[in-house]
Symmetry: C2
Subunit: 327 residues, 2 copies
Amino acid sequence: MGTTIRIGIAGYGNLGRGVQSAIAKNPDMELVGVYTRRDPATLSLPGGASAFHMDELVKHTNDIDVLILCGGSKSDLPEQTPALAALFNTVDSFDTHAKIPEHFAAVDAPATTAGKTALISAGWDPGMFSINRVYGEALLPDGETYTFWGRGLSQGHSDAVRRVPGVAAGVQYTIPSTEAIAKVRAGDRPTLSTREKHVRECFVVLEDGADAEVVKTAIVTMEHYFDQYETTVNFIDAATLASEHSSMPHGGFVFRSGNTSDSHAQVIEYSLTLQSNPEFTSSVLVAYARAVHKMNQAGQIGAKTVFDVAPGLLSPKSPEQLRAEML
Amino acid sequence: MGTTIRIGIAGYGNLGRGVQSAIAKNPDMELVGVYTRRDPATLSLPGGASAFHMDELVKHTNDIDVLILCGGSKSDLPEQTPALAALFNTVDSFDTHAKIPEHFAAVDAPATTAGKTALISAGWDPGMFSINRVYGEALLPDGETYTFWGRGLSQGHSDAVRRVPGVAAGVQYTIPSTEAIAKVRAGDRPTLSTREKHVRECFVVLEDGADAEVVKTAIVTMEHYFDQYETTVNFIDAATLASEHSSMPHGGFVFRSGNTSDSHAQVIEYSLTLQSNPEFTSSVLVAYARAVHKMNQAGQIGAKTVFDVAPGLLSPKSPEQLRAEML
């Protein structure tokens, strides 16, 4: 196998910690360092990993084979990926779907000039779900694609709940409609409204003296976030919130349902049941870091997406091994 | 979009007919001709397609962009693919798992010499299931993979049933154990014996005067085929067999269940529910024909497997379109 793939982590939130865990599960990889905008001395890293200030990255261009960018899509990655793809092979999880073409262009130019490979928008959606949408449409061109999310903690909707006056703390889970999934799985191709695809479930801790009915009404009628959905609001105490709602489960389903002839229908289903959304996303980033390393060695430079990466490149096994053992 | 991709079909059984249906669902493709070892005049082809004798293929090297080989893995493909990959870009569905490395080598040499691209072992297993085994293992290296087949008509086991004295006709369905699947889906990682993974269900028409109990015992005790499984035998009449058991449904499940840290487990599930096994396999072959055409144009020659093909290559959409619409 030769030497290990040397990985750097830029940003140490949930995703950065997940990448560190994932590297520990992949013996062909090695963590070179965690790079942060905070004071590196304040990070306590398990396993004796080294922390550095983000500004030191430029000194480590020869020490890192692939840099995994673990910042957020709103303000971190639009700046960091174009800048760092001029210095490193990179993987990011940019997930603002509407801005992906713009982000791709901003990353492609510096990566190409520098001879680096920069994979953007890895994870599970965008990422594994996107791949399954493409496979599904290509294999069953005469059909329909359905994506359902959940059961999962939604950060954006939890934030919206917490902004309601009278709410001390709370979380929101997005839950795919069991009935809608059953129809799609059975090969029906229903037209589903937003309301029919998902329901929303909130767990709320009230502030002292807040009126539960007023809070509940404020949540379920909130425009865009809740008014189009069937929403349930459960009131709990702070201890229950802490003990039962502090993990970050998620997942979902991608279906392609189509006909290969007038007489025969076919259904393809891909689903994820995740106890930790950030850890799974991180595991995807790490597998794609392996692919990026191989692609760069093969001269495939510039910005890439998961659509450009052959499945075998994600594996530590050789093509010969994959054909003998996995085909 | 430019010109269409010109497809030839070699062999006109269930798979060849399925490829013809699939081409009709893909407007960027065109059927040039069906090539057969039978007298071409005896084929009645829908849609005005042309039939030729297999020997005429050599005259049509300039008319076909990709030749899809629809013969069997036992005797057709081991001869045909190496010979035809010296003349055409090819796709085959070679599915004798143990002989894939040998077949790959036999095809790689002539294809490489001729500058052709030859994708072997496409379909769903080997094929889409293999891809999902590789993705699963790469994303969750600390875990277990489970493949279940069915509910599906098994050709080999149906043949075995029909060889039993006293059996006039019959079919066999392989059925994945509901209980085993439920355990795996729930994130348990059970060790499953052959017997625990699948059950077998036979529908048998008796010959006149045959003893049902004797036939049943002969089936359920048959070595390798049935003795390791829970097998049910149902006796039906010929009319029921014809009306209820003449289609070829199949499908199955690939699960990867693994931990991304000590505290968090994740489950990935891929499943197919197919009303027609040959038509779905054919649809996969046709999508890979598109990829083979693009790979050959990009100078990627020699033998390939599904592990070597980036998902985006299967789509008629451009990389820009895929990023904007599907990521």
